[in-house]
Symmetry: C2
Subunit: 126 residues, 2 copies
């Protein structure tokens, strides 16, 4: 069973290779919970289960042109670790379509039995 | 009362000005709890209360020569925010005396009633 630090290192390595979906497939628990810092009015910032989390990630990567990305960390503490993600993207859909911008966020991951069971994204809602 | 983001911005601004103790004095709750990722064998990673937290910070700043530091963030999520701290230091005491090294950590802060009530440090124990 992988330790928290091992899971964190694998996640960072896969993100640095732009293999985000492979990270989800290999490191996430079927019962993963994903919580955003915020979201559109009326939409829950929380998503439950691997199918919904994969759907959310898949939507994001299909609807953004990614010019560059950076992943730093992991920084561990007990059964949790923090990673910093930066993206330089242009949305292909929604009100920001065609408007290139830079995203900065920190993510807090909780590991149980060698799998990520909770991801929480920290960023400024502006 | 300050919001989570306001507290985070004040903390980052004070750290960037090397006013770490002023940040503790102005932003921390009297009942602050501080938890390290780890510590020496037999020593608790947890410290309770403003006097003990100030004592820990004071000891650290007195026993390290600081060549440079960087603080980035804050990245908020509800009543919590994450900050990244980097230090380039030489210890003045202990087994690492005179050995310059670079520290990288992420810190997770929890805010209640406009004050920081919990700080948790995330870093690799090596």
């Amino acid at each position: 069973m992988s330790t928290t630090m091992e899971v964190g290192k694998k996640l960072v390595a896969l993100c640095q290779q732009n293999k985000h979906m492979e990270a989800v497939d290999s490191l996430y628990s079927p019962n993963i919970v994903s919580i955003e810092a915020g979201g559109p009015p009326g939409q829950s910032p929380r998503v439950d289960g691997i199918a919904a989390v994969k759907g959310k990630a898949d939507w994001w990567f299909k609807n953004h042109e990614i010019h560059g990305s950076k992943t730093e960390g992991p920084w561990p503490h007990g059964d949790r670790f923090i990673v910093r993600h930066s993206f330089d993207v242009t949305p292909k859909a929604g009100p920001m379509t065609g408007k290139r911008f830079q995203m900065e966020e920190a993510a807090l991951y909780t590991v149980k039995d060698g799998k990520i069971v909770l991801e929480e994204f920290f960023y400024n809602m502006g």
